[in-house]
Symmetry: C3
Subunit: 254 residues, 3 copies
Amino acid sequence: MHAPRDLPLMAADVLARIRTRRPRVHCITNSVAQNFTANMLLSAGAVPSMTTDPAEIREFVASADALLVNLGTLDAVRQAAIKAALAEADGRIPWVLDPVFVDRALSRATFALELAARSPNIIRLNGAEFAALAEEQVAPAALARYARERSAVVALTGDPDIVTDGARTISIGNGHPLMAKVTAMGCAASALVGACIAVEPDAWLAATAGLILIGIAGELAAGSAHGPGTLASGILDALDGLNQRTIVERTRVG
Amino acid sequence: MHAPRDLPLMAADVLARIRTRRPRVHCITNSVAQNFTANMLLSAGAVPSMTTDPAEIREFVASADALLVNLGTLDAVRQAAIKAALAEADGRIPWVLDPVFVDRALSRATFALELAARSPNIIRLNGAEFAALAEEQVAPAALARYARERSAVVALTGDPDIVTDGARTISIGNGHPLMAKVTAMGCAASALVGACIAVEPDAWLAATAGLILIGIAGELAAGSAHGPGTLASGILDALDGLNQRTIVERTRVG
Amino acid sequence: MHAPRDLPLMAADVLARIRTRRPRVHCITNSVAQNFTANMLLSAGAVPSMTTDPAEIREFVASADALLVNLGTLDAVRQAAIKAALAEADGRIPWVLDPVFVDRALSRATFALELAARSPNIIRLNGAEFAALAEEQVAPAALARYARERSAVVALTGDPDIVTDGARTISIGNGHPLMAKVTAMGCAASALVGACIAVEPDAWLAATAGLILIGIAGELAAGSAHGPGTLASGILDALDGLNQRTIVERTRVG
């Protein structure tokens, strides 16, 4: 296991690789989050694509470096697109599952369970979503067991964030409460994690790097924001301008 | 009837209740407005959800505290979602109708008339939309008659805004011309009114509070904005930071 | 041909006409770009509408002054909407084609070729899209030949932008690298070009004016932005506040 003291440099290195390689991240995501998610990926240095059309998506996924499957505003078209995309991605490129609002609709939770069984590299979710998906309350041991059973990394955002692959578990203290007042912040975090796994094959490191980076960008933005509106634009500025020194100084993991 | 001098404190109190109770507002709204609308609700302290899938929407509405039906980018899926959502909402939670652009398409106006007959608690629209829906020109007496006949509150945004339930009619002078240069501002106002009616059972008070709050937030944002782009982020900041004293000082009703 | 020295004043005059006439621009555009595109049009003084429903779109196009057909997030509904919209627009109002990401999906490229044969007044695209559509590399002579063969203006965005109708070819040096880090910037440019052609019948002048205006607005915004997030709001502010003197001072064409 990487000792926590290596992680800040590792996160900075993952960002540097995104900027150099410019990975393509195809996002099947909800209509609320598409614009902010695309801007988050561009700010990191990645190249987003967003089509959800089942007829076109295989070609987009075929030339992508990672795939995001976000279940917000799920509908029949998106369900078909997800199936086509996963058939194309199948083992060739990594993918991230974001089971948005599975705590609000049983049919969505059922679909999410099917997807969770199809070996996502990373599942990024919040506490309520984990509780609905795993049918147990959030606790480090429960997260680790869930990750181990599915051979997936679980990346839980909250205060703190927790990332686990069952063997390695870390908590991340970065971030700012104002981030919860910007819609699609979690969705954009999942996409950023997708950019990280496009350049970092260790899914646990990729998820950890992604959450450290967005957390630090959020803190920096909160320092000059006047509220959630300027935070939303400021976090894109902060991610675009983020450098290794700031990452090393600000990373709070334990 | 509440005397106008009570209204500023009432508006502040409605906002305080939104912040405390965090009502869930399910929004069937157009794809242009979804992101800004969700952010407006979050800035007020409410919790947005946005799915328009007919298969999922009943569950979302079942756990919501208010429903917004906005007719922008209307299509067959949204029409089916609206019917399913209203069947679920039926008398249990309040709902707001926003008949976007009914002046531009006859089929949309026809659908809006059907919806207006299904007892929306509040109809939020602009002058051109009212004229198309009511088939008469905008005037306080026409608005009041329309409200009375449908037992709905009519909340007309313009300069000034007018809110009437047929018996009580008020004009609101808050707001700023630059707000008209931000897309989905009216849609977001309707959603905010939805958050208000989730915590204030008197629909006339809820609509009045909602338009006062967004008007004041817009004025505050315009004071520091450099144009429509920074106004869009600034109004979210302003709503998030709005306090009772500012509301009382700035409310302009008559 | 207009000598380059006339172009700055011409661009300023086109913007003045947009502000005075407030043309309606109907946009069939991708879900990622809708909000930013609508705000770009409002900031210019135009009136956007965005429905993609095949059943409603003819009425919207019937009362529009120009049409944008953008192929991002293309699906069966958008394809049907495009056909209905073009049947309505047919020779009555000008239209702009934006063949987004035709380099990423063969089916989309095929559809784009069909549309390019239906006499768009302007085709706005980037280098990769031109190469996929024209099956040859970007070069001024190739662009001019392509434009001549289709009797369409080709407006290529890049560094520099190139606008040609086959007879007249100009390169535009305005713009800023940070613009490429904001999603939908090209889509919004196409919509702005649509607003220009709604008030300027010479498609070459309209496309040239549109790209000059967004390029200058981007430069001004980049001057005070802290990154791509504040650039996105700043470019809307800058376009809204743009005046003739600034346009004349900053236009760089050759």
